[in-house]
Symmetry: C2
């Protein structure tokens, strides 16, 4: 059932792994699978995630005791995210023609069928939600930024599709897609991939962003994106790359030195609301932003990428869809760590003005990255 | 002007460094200085910190462009926090008899005399506040936990004294004392020391904690500490060490695997409200908690220690004074990193139940740490 009305048709096919977890393969061409659908182990992990309430920060904390045993820096011959080459050592993915894959995380922090926890003295409830893995490519050595423009656009369609599925289920209220890249920041698998966390409630950041965006809308009568893009295009100095329908910018309030936001220039609250032209532009700007980070110091920049979409509990047109990129290097060889003020007070200290960082990012050569 | 009424009298003396920064020396015995008061450079750093408003997170971000040049892993022969041994290479501290030292950070993220920033397109204001360095000991190789019980108590008095001074000035509304330890988390100077950040506003964490504690008080009629201590002493399983007037615990909502809180058992909102007996017990429990973290895996545990006191804008008796210790190792050799869910959603995932972590911390041997 490809969506053939899109600029690039999106093909997809559903499978169930031997251990019961769902798998979806996505592609720009018809999906073709040429081996068994594998699972690293035939038995499902007994996940019993719970959440506990933090009474002084007013937020949930997720507990998943089964996660301690998860895969850690496997030798190159075993990559659970590569297509299975030796059936004696099954990975998470089959061989075949497909571009991206999404499956339920084998070691989830949240599951849709989390059991009610046994009674205890702590304020505990079931860890209801979902954790998915998104494999960006069959190429274990590639980067997200190595994807073609068409596949970059496909990834945006996949993130949109996963969000729409969760919205349709009715249980999930907030979805966070992200990529954490770099051994420097604890990434256990090098194969290019991201994750999706789906919450049955609104986490603190989503709550706060919605509240602030609604307040802006009430006070100014405009969507936050509209005013932000107008002011920043007028100022110019912080914009890194502008493709018309989407742009990248080091925001005036960047918390990380080279923090880069990618956003559509029309107020949109969900990826699924982007039209083909906007999605393609968004993908090109994202790819450009990622390439600039690698070019900046001539090393693969460790980073966190988070996709911020409106909560799903109701329509929230005021919420600004955007991607935040947090590059962890603040200078060559110097990582940014979250220390006292960031963790203890919740307030960031940044060593460089966003205007300066944006100028550096604009100036890099993208010739050989 | 020692406070001779205290169990341990606290002596202190004020100095001004050659570059104009204030220095206070504290001791359990009368202060004696036997060399010039030094400063690494005779000229003050031209600090012009500013704050900018993050419109979607609703928080300030601090910018301090002069901080990029700060001291980074100096060779062992130059330690700016050791007493000056060679006047040709002055450090931050003189030789003499004193136990602890506090001085204004040479590279501050906030200063009390921050100039009004030049006009620009971003929502910017002066970075008004203060950043201090607290040197725990003259011994460059020691740890905070190597301090004697009396010096541990002295440190609590010093933190209390700095907070009281800021409160008296009227500009500062919130004070965060902290120690960030471990090269693994970017600590640039090994000499045992902490920092103090003083804000002219309430940062997000202080705001939230005050709000939640006030809500608890309104709903239950009790101080949060009173109810928390009663429930946890009854449950027992999460308490690590209990000295009566103060205890340590892996809270039921721990966000880090071996997260440990140290708190008085009587509701107190500021360190200055502790009586001598409580301060001594608090210091002993803190020392015990730090020693257990080093004993746990037989390595110096990298950690963040933050001291949470009530905001200073008014009396807030509902606010629970406590120390939070975030150990960064979740298992031997395995660091906890803040990834997608922690940074993008503001919600932590923890691999181990607090009850299990507390049992492990109780079981360690403190013989040889």
């Amino acid at each position: 059932m490809p969506d053939l009305t899109a600029a690039h048709p999106v093909y997809q096919q559903e499978f169930t792994k031997p251990d019961g977890r769902p798998l979806t393969l996505y592609g720009l061409r018809p999906i073709e699978v040429t081996s068994e659908i594998p699972s690293p182990s035939p038995e499902a992990v007994d996940a019993r995630p719970v959440m506990r309430w933090h009474p002084l920060r007013g937020e949930w904390v997720m507990y998943a005791a089964h996660r301690m045993g998860r895969t850690f820096l496997p030798p190159p011959e075993y990559n659970p995210l590569a297509p299975t080459s030796d059936p004696a050592h099954p990975t998470e993915l089959p061989r075949g023609n497909y571009d991206l894959a999404v499956f339920a995380n084998r070691f989830p922090s949240l599951t849709l069928n989390a059991p009610k926890p046994p009674p205890g003295t702590a304020h505990t409830r079931a860890g209801t939600g979902a954790c998915e893995v998104v494999v960006f490519s069959q190429n274990a050595d590639g980067r997200l930024s190595d994807l073609s423009d068409a596949r970059m656009s496909l990834l945006l369609s996949v993130w949109a599709d996963r969000t729409s599925r969760f919205a349709a289920g009715g249980i999930i209220k907030s979805v966070l897609a992200f990529e954490n890249r770099g051994m420097e920041v604890g990434v256990t698998l090098q194969h290019p991939h991201g994750q999706i966390y789906a919450y049955d409630h609104l986490p603190p950041v989503a709550t706060r962003m919605l509240e602030m965006a609604q307040q802006h809308h009430t006070e100014s009568g405009n969507a936050w994106i509209t005013d932000f893009v107008a002011v920043e295009r007028d100022a110019g100095e912080r914009i890194v790359h502008d493709e018309g329908a989407a742009l990248s910018i080091v925001p005036p309030f960047a918390r990380y030195t080279y923090e880069t936001w990618i956003l559509p220039t029309r107020p949109v609250s969900l990826l699924s609301e982007l039209n083909d032209e906007e999605r393609d532009a968004f993908g090109r700007v994202l790819k450009d932003a990622l390439l600039r980070l690698d070019a900046l110091f001539g090393v693969r920049m460790p980073y966190l990428l988070t996709v911020h979409q409106a909560p799903l509990d109701a329509a929230h047109p005021e919420f600004p869809l955007h991607i935040e990129l947090y590059p962890y290097l603040r200078a060559p060889g110097r990582m940014k760590y979250l220390a006292g003020t960031e963790q203890g007070a919740g307030e960031f200290a940044n060593d460089k003005f966003p205007e300066v960082a944006a100028a550096e990012l604009r100036a890099v050569s993208l010739e050989n990255v």
